[in-house]
């Protein structure tokens, strides 16, 4: 069984996407796209169907793929559910998300994986899940990775925390090579980050908040690079946030190790100065860093050292984000903002092209997560998972939180470029003219 079937109960009619510029791994070209039965059946000039999605002036891309989504179900449904998180994802141009396993209970066994996938089948887009590396994400005993891999789980992580034990991580990597799966690490040495709420630097000094040094992340990046060399495991580095981490990843890739890495929108957009308001909306792990770290993350994405942009969409209720900064939970929303922030910060405020950004939001993460039906070329026979984005539309991010159940948005008031017009998942138009269809 794969995770990428057309959801039950969806009736898809023939759709034509007209007048857009197609961007995929093969390059850019003009053309209409005709969709029938969940697949692309024609690409070319002057195609027609009963249902027309206008793509005039827009980019038609493979649907975006998020490697790092906290859907909060099971356990914290007041903050998000698979249904609401998937709707937010669809509105953000995503056709697939990878759920993180730090739910309650953790996604650490076949039975929880089945529950999450079952709930995901009713969602607007494809919901894949990762599995925990250790039972209960407690870092003590390997979780049954094989039984989860049998259900299609390809990525394993204890995200929310890193696997602290060197010995356990070594064995997890060795075991993973036998299954052909990828391990993804939240790099944070707990002994160096204990009792901290933000990045260690001039701002933490000024604000009187405990700070964790960049080295709390970088030491675990170093360790896992060494263990990847030892074991040959495929390792994916989650939410890289420091200049030092980017350098370490670049060097490890140059040495030929099979590693990949991602960065989150907030780490190329915001700095630790945001914490000045003591508004816990700006609290996140890893923490917001300095402007030179932001520059390094942007450069890392541009050079390809960082393969993917992943949201780390982390909904929290307003009550929990009103706690004192020290005590509030870390995390911020991202699904509906990532694409526009990437265009704004990495293209307009950086050196990348719109197509470079799409690569890091779509086919590169799809390849890392082995999602065979996503991030594919826009070509006959491929699954119709597409995102149509107006690259010239500018808009101001508001505090509503969009389709999420939560509203911990750290970008309120920012003017950004790039608005998702339509999202097509498995041949069905789930977002039309910026409106979710369920």
């Amino acid at each position: 069984m794969t995770q990428s079937q057309v959801p039950q109960g969806r009736t898809s009619e023939d759709i034509v996407i007209k007048g857009g510029k197609l961007i995929d791994v093969r390059g850019e070209r003009a053309g209409d796209v005709l969709i029938s039965g969940g697949r692309i059946v024609a690409v070319g000039e002057d195609l027609d169907a009963h249902r027309v999605l206008d793509a005039g002036g827009a980019l038609v891309c493979p649907g975006l793929v998020d490697l790092h989504t906290h859907l909060r179900e099971p356990g914290t449904e007041e903050a998000e559910t698979i249904e609401t998180g998937a709707r937010a994802a669809a509105l953000g141009g995503y056709t697939a998300v990878l759920a993180m396993p730090n739910t309650t209970p953790a996604i650490d066994s076949a039975s929880v994986v089945k529950d999450v996938l079952e709930l995901g089948r009713a969602a607007m887009i494809d919901v894949h899940t990762s599995g925990a590396i250790t039972v209960g994400r407690s870092g003590e005993q390997l979780a049954p990775m094989a039984e989860m891999a049998d259900l299609g789980v390809h990525m394993f992580t204890d995200d929310g925390s890193g696997v602290q034990s060197d010995a356990l991580m070594r064995r997890a990597m060795e075991y993973a090579t036998g299954l052909g799966v990828t391990l993804a690490q939240h790099c944070e040495v707990a002994a160096l980050s204990a009792g901290t709420a933000m990045n260690e630097g001039e701002w933490s000094a000024k604000l009187g908040l405990g700070g964790q040094p960049a080295e709390a992340e970088e030491l675990m990046v170093m360790r896992d690079i060494a263990l990847a060399r030892l074991t040959g495991a495929r390792v994916h580095f989650l939410h890289m946030s420091t200049a030092g981490s980017v350098d370490l990843i670049a060097a490890a890739k140059a040495s030929g190790l099979p590693i990949t890495a991602e960065a989150a929108p907030h780490h190329f957009t915001l700095t630790d100065a945001c914490c000045e308001s003591y508004d816990a909306t700006f609290k996140v792990h890893p923490p917001l860093r300095t402007s030179s770290d932001v520059d390094a993350v942007k450069a890392g994405l541009a050079s390809g050292t960082l393969d993917a942009i992943a949201t780390d969409h982390a909904p929290h209720t307003p009550e929990s984000k009103e706690l004192p900064f020290d005590e509030a939970p870390p995390g911020m929303l991202g699904l509906e903002y990532a694409l526009a922030l990437a265009f704004t910060e990495l293209v307009d405020g950086g050196t990348m092209t719109d197509a470079d950004v799409i690569a890091r939001l779509s086919w590169q993460p799809a390849a890392i997560a082995a999602m065979g039906e996503h991030g594919r070329p826009i070509a006959v026979g491929e699954a119709a998972n597409l995102c149509i984005v107006d690259p010239s539309a500018t808009w101001i991010i508001d505090d509503s939180g969009g389709a999420s159940r939560s509203r911990n948005v750290p970008y309120v008031g920012r003017t950004v470029r790039g608005k998702v017009r339509h999202t097509v998942c498995a041949g069905e138009a789930v977002v039309i003219d910026g409106e979710a269809q369920q």
Binding site: E200, G201, E202, S204, A205, K206, L207, G208, L209, G210, G211, P213, S277, Y278, E319, E322, L323, P324, F325, D326, E327
Partner: protein
């Protein structure tokens, strides 16, 4: 000034104004009956999420001497223990009708958060490691009363800087008033990075002779288990103001401590009793400074500090008044 959250909210002129009012308050405090009706009818809530007997008493005393009603709130007997949020707590108290709220919390930033949820004047009585502005004002006032001004003075702040809201606020206040500040501590008790306009020394002996003010911070036992220094004995050997070190201070230099003191650790018991130790002056000045802050935040701009019995009124009626809440004279 609508709130007092940190020294950074104040200009040096604002601090001078607070000192001028505090001079008048000190005069009231020397009276046989140290009480005026200036804030009669106003309610000041003291909201101490973290215990602090002395600061709470000081604010209580200050508010009562100005004739305000004081609504006390202590966490141990409150709904906070039952899980009530800070926001719900402040909104509940505010619904009872308050004009100012004095907040102490173990977490940095809580007074600022409260100011976003409350229309009352918020006074920070200490938040986490962040700020303790009335402590810095009373310390600066104490130094100013001794030297006439802080301008050009050499002030050493000795001890656990990184975990100290007193240090942060005093660094801001002292430098704003023109003093040269040297932080004296082992590297483990200093922020890893900082952009403050201060000098740093890791040797008290090196800086001692040049100091006009030797300001000692309280050292906490728990820092040993965090591996910030090996033992109290070693701390005292390097950074304690022992009798021998106190002898090396200049003839006009003064010794200060925010209290409570660990005698025999950061300050020798005998040194705390010397004439140039101003620890009790700090406590007395604390009441005057907090009266001044309450007056400037809550007093009507047209109201002067007329004594309750009238007979002392002239001596203080020239006290400057400020547009506090509801003031429209500026």
């Amino acid at each position: 000034m609508a709130n007092l959250l940190a020294i950074s909210d104040l200009q040096s002129g604002d601090i001078g104004e607070i000192f001028d009012v505090a001079d008048s308050m000190a005069e009231i405090n020397r009276r046989r009956i140290p009480k005026v009706p200036t804030l009669r009818g106003q309610t000041v809530a003291t909201l101490f999420f973290e215990d602090s007997t002395r600061t709470k008493l000081s604010f209580d005393t200050a508010a009562r001497r100005l004739g305000a009603d004081v609504m006390g709130f202590s966490v141990s007997s409150s709904a906070v223990k039952k899980g009530e949020s800070v926001r719900d707590t402040i909104e509940t108290i505010e619904a009872m009708g308050i004009h100012a709220v004095v907040v102490r919390h173990r977490c940095s930033g809580v007074p600022l958060q409260i100011s976003r949820w409350s229309d009352a004047a918020v006074i920070n009585a200490g938040d986490g490691w962040h700020a303790h502005p009335t402590q810095a004002l009373l310390d600066s006032f104490t130094i100013r009363n001794r030297f006439g001004s802080l301008d050009g003075l050499n002030i050493g702040i000795v001890g656990d800087i990184v975990h100290s809201r007193v240090a942060r606020s005093n660094i801001e206040a002292f430098t704003k008033l023109g003093a040269r500040v040297t932080l004296v501590a082992p590297p483990t008790l200093l922020p890893a990075r900082m952009d403050w306009p201060v000098e740093v020394s890791h040797s008290l002996d090196d800086v001692l002779k040049a100091l006009d003010v030797c300001y000692l911070l309280r050292v906490q036992n728990e820092r040993i288990s965090e591996a910030l220094f090996p033992s109290l004995r070693e701390y005292t050997a390097l950074f304690g103001l022992t009798s021998r070190r106190a002898d090396q201070l200049g003839p006009d230099a003064i010794i200060m401590h925010p209290g409570p003191m660990n005698r025999g650790v950061e300050i020798a018991g005998e040194v705390a009793e010397r004439p140039n130790s101003l620890v009790t002056d700090q406590v007395a000045n604390g009441v005057s400074i907090r009266m001044a802050v309450l007056f400037l935040l809550l007093g009507s701009p047209r109201e002067s500090l007329i004594g309750s019995d009238g007979e002392h009124g002239d001596s203080v009626s020239a006290a400057p008044v400020s547009a506090g809440e509801g003031g429209g004279s500026k």
